[in-house]
Amino acid sequence: MTDQVEVAEGKAAGWSDWWRSGKPLVWLNALAVALSISAVAGLLALLAVRGLAHFWPAEVLAFEYLDQGVKTRVVGELIRRESPSSDGLEAASEQWLVKTGNRRVNPPDFRWYARDGIANLRTPADLVVVERREWGRAYGRLRALYEGDARVASGERVWAEIEARREQLQSLRAAAADVQSKGVDAIDHALEQLRIERRKRAFDALPPSLELVFRERELKERSAEYEQQLREIHAALNRDRLHLDTMNGERIELPLGDLIRIWRPNQMSWSEKLGHYFVGVRLFLTEGPREANTEGGVFPAIFGTSLMVLLMSVLVTPFGVLAALYLHEYARQGLLVRIVRIAVSNLAGVPSIVYGVFGLGFFVYFIGGSIDELFYAHARPAPTFGTPGLIWASFTLALLTAPVVILATEEGLARIPRSIREGSLALGATKAETLLRVIVPMASPAILTGVILAVARAAGAAAPLMLVGVVKFAPTLPIDGHFPYIHLERQFMHLGFHIYDLGFQSQNVEAARPLVFATALLLVMVILLLNSSAILLRSRLERRYRSSYQD
């Protein structure tokens, strides 16, 4: 009896000792860290798996499906299986979501099939998948290849013929792109300049000059020439036509000019699939979007995001640093400066959409509108700068991220020991010289910390951008070969908004779904890349300016 009591007491003492030893706190800390790490890792893993799997050439299935006595033949890729819920009224079987493609002849391109109705499941080696410019993927069997009206191959031999024409097609496409950019676009641009000049003269009540009329005529003639060239190339591209048989006996006719990729997944080796996969990823990164963004790549969005973030950094860094220098070094410390500092901190917490509204009202309508009134009066009422565009998006985000840069810089300035300032002043340096030669370089790692935070915030913001310059689809990049080369007034695409557009605005939800994940992964990667380059720079600066007598 006494023994037992002693044991119980000993145990209680053990618990309270354990509690007092601080170990529980250590475990809690470890738990919190582990949770954070697994959250980040899980997020990245989900994005990577769901996004990157999309580019893998999946097997194409062929099966017969019996539904209410009607037998159909189905070809497509298995996208997802869903187990039936057990509380369903009828004992449903597993449901398969199959991408059947061929949207033009046989919509829709995604269908659900009950596993029970599927029979005779096979993966025939001769099935081909075609990625084309329009109408999404096509699935079927090669039937014939026509050159003009002449049939040059049929059945299996079509594959070899397409392979043989691959290089020719590529060079034709390159030629078409060349004529388009160097010929047609350049002349369109020149004509547009002339049209503006004509309008300017009309604005001043002058008739168009003779030279202008002649040049216009000449350009129009040359434009007709280029368009003729382009038509010829397109005719050559579309001379050869591929005929496919679908499973239900419909025929798909496809000009080779529309063909992007063709593959036979059921007979590809593992290494061929890998090659195909990387080509797919490359196309996703380097091509523009097609089919209302549900096909093709995201290059314009990558480009737009990066350019906007860079421009934002260029705007916000000097502004934030100057503001912080004034607040910390020059302003007389007192109530007013305290209020300003609190206001700046609170500004960092204002919801980003509010900045978007402000940007639209102030930058776009007021500043942009004034610029139009002053310098582009001839073009009105069509706006030039008085409309959402890259420059206004960058300004708005610079405003949004300025508090972060200001606060980080002030913190960096406060950390510099007084003895360093006095050392410089005691050598006869003025305050400005001290700031420029010693203090700002020493604060540069802190400034970069601010910029890193600003970049992360700006690259991730989507809501304010919708108001000040981001669009679902931008026909031109903000940088091109025409003077002045950087067109800051243009609207642009952005990865964050692209995700929203794919996920919520798309007509074709199933086609867009994998792209949502892939684009989200890409956005994380872009931010990571921008951040890690800034972090690298910061660590170099830290090594250089690390001080031996820091607290």
């Binding site: 007389r332 020991p417 003895s419 360093i420 006095e422 050392g423 410089s424 002043l425 005691a426 050598l427 006869g428 340096a429 003025t430 010289e433 030669r437 010693v438 370089p441 020493m442 250089r544 300016y545 690390r546 001080s547 031996s548 007598y549």
Partner: protein, 269 residues
């Protein structure tokens, strides 16, 4: 060691009683807000000599030192009365450029404070502020300054390295080299050895001996023995007042004031 040093310098004119006055402090009072830091200080500082300010913590010796190069200007509520004259001219005269004054009156602080730059750039910092010199001239001056603080042989092969690579004793000598590279008349030393180890302290003290044949040195120190070893004149400050000022040897052997005697004897401070 100190005896040896004193013997060595006995014959030099700098240790002879000064006829030439470099700095004159005339009825100087200093207040930080409501706190009176210095009260009616009067003293003359001889050219090419070492003057030590001693006294317990908070006696105002550092505040007085910082009046000479007007570093107190940086403090918003510092209020100054009276005058300091450098070569007969008030340092507060409206036509005096503070930056020019500070070039003439260099300063070394308690903590070594090299800039986050290379060794050579640290020494060249002041030179580059005051007019454009050709690079060869700057290189020569860097070498001369580093030689004078006996650092040249230790760093000649790594002038491009960060100053933070040096030990703190070397850093302090580098900072002195930085101050004398602009050829000041006066060098203010604010407890220059208090953050250093004994060996480095000794080297700084030797350096002070060597520097006084070119510069007027004023040193603030907590260490009474150090004041006795390095200085020609000593001023004892207590609670913002100048209690006693005179030739060091006389003051240490025969203090006139009871408070001075108590402080030297280590009864407070």
């Amino acid at each position: 060691m100190s005896e040896q040093g004193a013997a060595e310098f006995e014959g030099l004119p700098s240790s002879a009683p000064a006829e030439e006055i470099c700095l004159q402090v005339d009825n100087l009072s200093l207040a930080y807000g409501d706190v009176q830091a210095l009260k009616n200080i009067r003293l003359d500082i001889a050219k090419r000599s070492v003057t030590a300010f001693i006294g317990p913590s908070g006696c105002g010796k550092s505040s007085l030192l910082r009046c000479f190069n007007r570093l107190n200007d940086l403090i918003d509520d510092a209020k100054l009365d009276g005058e300091i004259r450098l070569g007969g001219k008030s340092i507060h005269a409206p036509d005096v450029e503070v930056s020019e004054l500070r070039r003439c009156i260099g300063m070394v602080f308690q903590q070594p404070n090299p800039f986050p730059k290379s060794i050579a750039e640290n020494v060249a910092y002041g030179l580059k502020l005051h007019g454009a010199l050709p690079q060869s001239e700057i290189d020569d001056r860097i070498e001369e300054a580093l030689r004078r603080v006996a650092l040249w042989d230790e760093v000649r092969d790594r002038l491009g390295e960060s100053a933070f690579e040096l030990s703190s004793g070397q850093q302090q000598r580098l900072v002195i080299a930085r101050a004398i590279a602009v050829e000041p008349e006066v060098l203010l030393l604010d407890e220059p050895a208090s953050a250093l180890d004994p060996i480095s302290t000794l080297r700084i003290e030797e350096l002070i001996h060597q520097l006084k044949d070119r510069y007027t040195l004023i040193i603030v120190t907590h260490n009474i023995q150090q004041a006795a070893r390095v200085s020609d004149y000593t001023a004892f400050l207590y609670l913002g007042e100048l209690i006693e000022f005179g030739v060091t040897q006389a003051m240490f052997t025969n203090p006139q004031d009871q408070r001075t005697e108590d402080y030297i004897a280590g009864r407070y401070g």
